[in-house]
Point group: D2
Amino acid sequence: MPSTTLPMLETYPKSINLDRAKLAAAIDALNDCAQACTACADACLSEDMVAELTKCVRTNLDCADICASTARVLSRHTGYDANISRTLLQACATACKSCGDECASHADKHEHCRICAEACRACEQACRDLLATIS
Amino acid sequence: MPSTTLPMLETYPKSINLDRAKLAAAIDALNDCAQACTACADACLSEDMVAELTKCVRTNLDCADICASTARVLSRHTGYDANISRTLLQACATACKSCGDECASHADKHEHCRICAEACRACEQACRDLLATIS
Amino acid sequence: MPSTTLPMLETYPKSINLDRAKLAAAIDALNDCAQACTACADACLSEDMVAELTKCVRTNLDCADICASTARVLSRHTGYDANISRTLLQACATACKSCGDECASHADKHEHCRICAEACRACEQACRDLLATIS
Amino acid sequence: MPSTTLPMLETYPKSINLDRAKLAAAIDALNDCAQACTACADACLSEDMVAELTKCVRTNLDCADICASTARVLSRHTGYDANISRTLLQACATACKSCGDECASHADKHEHCRICAEACRACEQACRDLLATIS
């Protein structure tokens, strides 16, 4: 099932202050990262060594919440405010960096951490790419 | 970018009480519907005839919130509780039905409503397909 | 700091299909329960016996997500749809019952579970009280 | 009903890197602001002059999402990461400032905007007070 993010962006009836393709790529990366982090937190909870994964669970939960909110904010164009988008993207890139680092440190033991680390890296990059276009 | 939903499900370290392919399809449909509804609410706000679209905005917001929560709950398998999944899927199918009907009634005038109605129909069906497998 | 829920409800410019005092009580109970569950999940993660609390963490996360979404839906009155409110309140009462039971089973060992169980019980009751008034 | 935020914080089993009273005050202000913004967005949708309030609706929705996520992140202490808290609080203060300004500009016409502007100002201040304590 292809994402409806870009088709929906193309139907927005007024102008958008950001590049629509970069924006859609960022929103898709954010939603994918939020999903991966939610699933990784739960997979960590079911590992026998959960006691060694509590920081990973917590960072996953933070990253999922921040990515989900950022995707929503970036999906709104009415009354656009660059300050909100910029500071939120900075917070989101920070959360993705932290979560990507934490998951990467467990990637050799847990496949869910390996996949989640990749989703965090891709999302961090998409946030930074979009940030670079916000004046 | 393919969704990481199914790959993440396949890394879950314990058994899952639902069919993994149906579950991944439902989660993807829920995330896609949440995204479409968030975007449709904002597109409606930017239409000149926004005063005729206020019920659509509201139903979009409800549907986005409920789909997002349902996707999260379905992404957790640790300490699975069928009662929560079942009642939440019923609420979610109800919200998708309402939002799909509302958006469909504006589909001839607004392309964002047409695409969003399709996402709601697909999500309602995915919720009902999954519900049918929950004892 | 007193909640602004009821003052905000009183400024809503059109009629509301539910009793405003019961509605405000439910919204406040939902927000309080969501907050308690988010905090309880994290407190469980920091207990030395976290391996015995993984079902509690998971149920806390579900309950927090569902309560937060239900509070949002109940805070909207434009284009009111009784079917969405009713089915979502049923799902929310179910989640509060499950989470209240799970937390209560750890209440003698963990004070955060004891307080959270109370918040879940109060929220379940507020949901059922409101449900009884929805035709 | 008094908030359970501070009582829950006091049961957290390990040390917390922030002042618990300031932290509880910020979390309560964030939850209150999220609730006020969600209600204000819907009240705006029901005003006859909704076409003049679309930027207010949008900023309300952003502020509600960001405040809700910030409250969740601040409610977690396991594996604390000051960089996430700091950047997210900066984004949240920015959103509260924008939403407070927008609502204040409608405060003489709409009581819901007046109350919401106050909640945004209080929340912005609580975020800045907490930020000042994060090294």
